[in-house]
Symmetry: D2
Subunit: 346 residues, 4 copies
């Protein structure tokens, strides 16, 4: 059994990690650390766990957990994980960071977009970017795993086959992304107060969202050239789910069936990627409460553009589910272990 | 492995049955019958199953399934299951009926409330009412299982300890019930058209809802006297979940801690019933996507009334989950098999 | 033109007051006071007013407004209005208090339920309870108007005809109430964070909600005897609207048509009360964004109970709309002035 | 007083027309025609009108209404209005068509996109496209008014200043549009059944939505060259509101303040167009229940793209409100008459 600890256990990503790990056959949850709720029972904060997991929330550092744990998940706001992570720590325990601190390889890029100083830049090179489908082999031997962002997971996987096959003009990539409100986390603030977000829709962070450089970094690497793209996030009046609509100009003619086949081949070994047949498109409910990432494809011959629609559950494949998929790889387990729930369409 | 068939596989209860049985370790889904979608792939109708269960929908009767199946689930509107079920069929296969045909023991009562003639009244006596927590032993040997309604499950279990212990004046029982819209099923009609039900709330079927006699039948049996009660259903602008608020006058003084203890004892062997500590109350999200039924208790000394709040997921403990719990009992399996998902609070 | 000021202009009741008064033909909004947003433009806080009302938010007391205003609306949490209101102030300006400070006639009752000391108990007698339909004449000459609560408005008007005509056993009255989330106001707290309240339903404050003594006070006065009743509020996952389902035992036989006629007569001079024909029931969307209060009636002969369903928009007839209806009466205007918007069913 | 009739009165656009016209000071609603509900009272179908407008629904043609009406609104699915409209009819009565039949000037274009034969192509030239802000003078003298689509209104007005000033490369225009579900109308079908659309999000009609040629026609006319663009609609899990996010490459450098000023000037005489200050963006709730169209602007210097965010209430400025704005112009009334409601942000 893998002994696991979670730091930041009472945020939404933390809660989902617990929810999934409770039923993971090869994991024991040893420690749940929560700065805000130290000393409370988990079921006081999250009554869904009543009778399922009786555990007190503690206030512990990774260092304090490291002797008893095989893996520690960080689910903290950016800037807080890197403070605790060092080479010495990695000698003792594997780290999976659901936050942003180790996703960008370039320290300056990180500091520019996140407006904080990075506390452990020496580890940036070692950290492995945990997009399982594109990086499986490196993940298997990783000690420090940077779990991708929710928007980024959906965007990169939706666009990789086009970029990798030189099918599009990379300077024309445009991602119009929409997320459910759980993506904004559990911290109270007016824009996600029920009465301020219910029955409404808006764009935010146009051109400035921090997932932009992450998408660009990974697609650039696939392309072998620097890609700059437009990324516009929006807030949906619902709890879970991300859908992105990505656009790009085609560099050559391709018909829809061929394109679907190309995508299906590209992801033929990936259990969690589902490519839709012609005429069907993903909806966020088709992946809700699951680790699937669904992709649909359209061609618009009038404008010579390809349109890719990708959907994920932001809390599962976009966060906790992918973290567990990474853990499975890092511990040589079946990649799908503990992640086989069927999407709950209703 | 239990070989299972489902008749009425593409209604919401049917879909949830499939979703849960796909991950049930002791069941093989052999046949999915759907009158409306015969010949289609399941994933065309419910894309959440894409890549998980590749199965064609058939149009088969229970008789036709009976040679190959160990159990057949009916998930049909009332009146349609009883047409297909006979003593001869029960000699070959176990039947779990999620519909209403075999819930009421009194044929006349059924015909009065449902306004149809009953096609197999001879089987009413044999049918076992499948409220697992109250009827476990009879269920184990049942051949024909009448799976309770969603409102009824929540109402009976929430009130049984009070009735059984003569703590309330039974003539004062009043159940104010609220259900998410999935309870209305998948048939198109104006009141559950999105724009007609979103952001609104209403009562319906006051004094005439068909779950009323079912609740009365079971509580009367527990009480050993005929109980007539008020039942008022309401429609919530959300997909899943039932919450009932039940009221009754106390016949004797009892303090809240004692009452909570009495409930906890009453259900001490029941994995899926959770009694809340003083000061806490269930919310539908605490049971969402799970087989739990949560109960909270309040006393109002000003009016000498006890108030019971019960919550279930109408599609799981109120339908498909309870059906599987019954199947587990009928096949001598661990009652919780395939039902251990943690409620998804978000 | 009536010169009006609002204290507490940026809470939801305040915002609705502004929204309605902007189109009131006999009112000029002179001052909008907001402690939290002093110095900001109204349209920075509420962009819906952009281009409609260009006004800076000020920080002023009623005393400071009183020389220039004919009426001042208070829309503050309880305890804050009574601090500012004195007999001397009332000599200069009429006051309409949307808060709770002057609703209960009994200072001790107020202090028991609200857990604060009352700052101006001498004004309790003078204050007029502003339920227009039941108290029209006193309102016309009021200087200090206590605007009723949202739940209370709906509950009292729904039950008054029964109580007034001795048709029910008053000790059996039970009100099961449900409110949209805007009723919880604009202050940030976890239970009304979007992801914590969306797609869920719960009861709260059972037996302890502060609107209970207010309902009891008014119904007791109508009955000529002390009434104690059960009141249970619930939180609906939607923004606007209250629906109450009230129950009581009948003291005499009456048929539904006669009951509907009795209600229609009782409110025959009241433009905003609509009694539904037999077989129809109110839904919150039928009153949304309007000052209407709709009532539907059912009899349950099996239990000898009458069930009354009442619906209001909590922010209009339950707060700002009723305040303006009161203002119209206090200034001898047509009671419906500025309140003729048709409910927006969608 | 203008005597008005509505054909198609019980669809959502029809209902909104009634709701707005009831409070229009210069209009009398003479006839409400509804094929589906002939003979019913309006308040049976739409109980929000109870006590406000007591009117029987009739089944009448425009011809039959024409002697008594000054204006007839058509709110029918495409193909049905053109059947009833002729030059002879227009000699007697003004027509405002909320449907699509007279929006496209090119009969072949119409027949290609709508897959039906046009019944009155001779009137296409006479019909005036009723986008008030861009076409005010022609509207004033129109006999036959083609009221624009919801998406189109929002898209054209959001992009016109850029196109008109040659600020963008027209071949790079891309509109990612999102609409609330009321836009799908009142006809029952599975995708807008509550449980199938709640808490989910999807794209539809990519590259094939019928509003595409309408947007292209109007922007091409402004540009003086043929524009082909990408238009992708999505369905939001909420009732009302459209938000579009439009993208294009800039042809010259411009700073954000200058751009905002240019937009403000372009629409300086238009009461219903609101341009947001730098750093603020529209949300659909800021225009809900109003005739406003709000526009926010962003520049992305990294990609040299301008991003325009536009928001309307699809049923008001996107349908019934704009139709009344057109009526006001056609009858020489103040353009804003009956349309001054403040957006209901909650």
């Amino acid at each position: 059994m893998i002994k696991a600890g979670i730091i930041g256990a009472t945020g939404y990503a933390g809660e989902e990690l617990i929810r999934l790990l409770v039923n993971h056959p090869e994991t024991d949850l040893i420690y749940l650390s929560s700065h805000s709720y130290t000393g409370s029972d988990l079921s006081e904060i999250y009554p869904n766990f009543r009778g399922i997991l009786d555990k007190k929330l503690v206030n512990m550092t990774a260092e304090e957990m490291s002797d008893e744990c095989d893996v520690i998940f960080f689910a903290l706001p950016h800037g807080l994980a890197s403070d605790q992570i060092s080479g010495k720590l990695l000698d003792k325990v594997k780290i999976i960071d659901l936050g942003a601190d180790f996703r960008l390889k370039d320290k300056d890029l990180y500091e520019n977009w996140y407006k904080v100083r990075h506390s452990s830049p020496v580890l940036l090179e070692e950290a492995v970017y945990g997009l399982c489908e594109l990086n499986r082999e490196s993940i298997k031997s990783a000690r420090l795993l940077a779990n991708p962002g929710c928007y980024t997971t959906c965007s990169i996987i939706s666009l990789a086959p086009l970029v990798d096959n030189n099918l599009i003009n990379n300077s024309t990539i445009l991602i119009d992304a929409k997320s459910g409100i759980s993506g904004a986390g559990r911290s109270l603030n007016l824009p996600v107060h029920f009465a301020e977000s219910n029955e409404s829709f808006k764009a935010y962070g146009i051109g400035t969202h921090r997932h932009t450089p992450e998408i660009e970094q990974e697609l650039s690497q696939i392309a072998g050239e620097k890609i700059i793209l437009s990324f516009t996030p929006h807030l949906l009046p619902m709890s879970r789910g991300i859908l992105i609509t990505a656009y790009a100009e085609l560099t050559e003619e391709i018909d829809k069936e061929a394109l679907i086949k190309l995508y299906s081949n590209y992801y033929k070994d990936d259990n969690f990627i589902r490519i839709y047949p012609s005429g069907s498109l993903p909806e966020t409910r088709y992946v809700k409460n699951s680790n699937f990432l669904d992709i649909g494809l359209e061609l618009d011959s009038r404008t010579n553009r390809v349109i890719v629609v990708g959907a994920v559950d932001n809390l599962i494949k976009g966060a906790a589910g992918q973290a567990i998929q990474n853990m499975n790889l890092m511990f040589n387990l079946d990649e799908t272990l503990g992640l086989k729930t069927v999407p709950s369409i209703l």
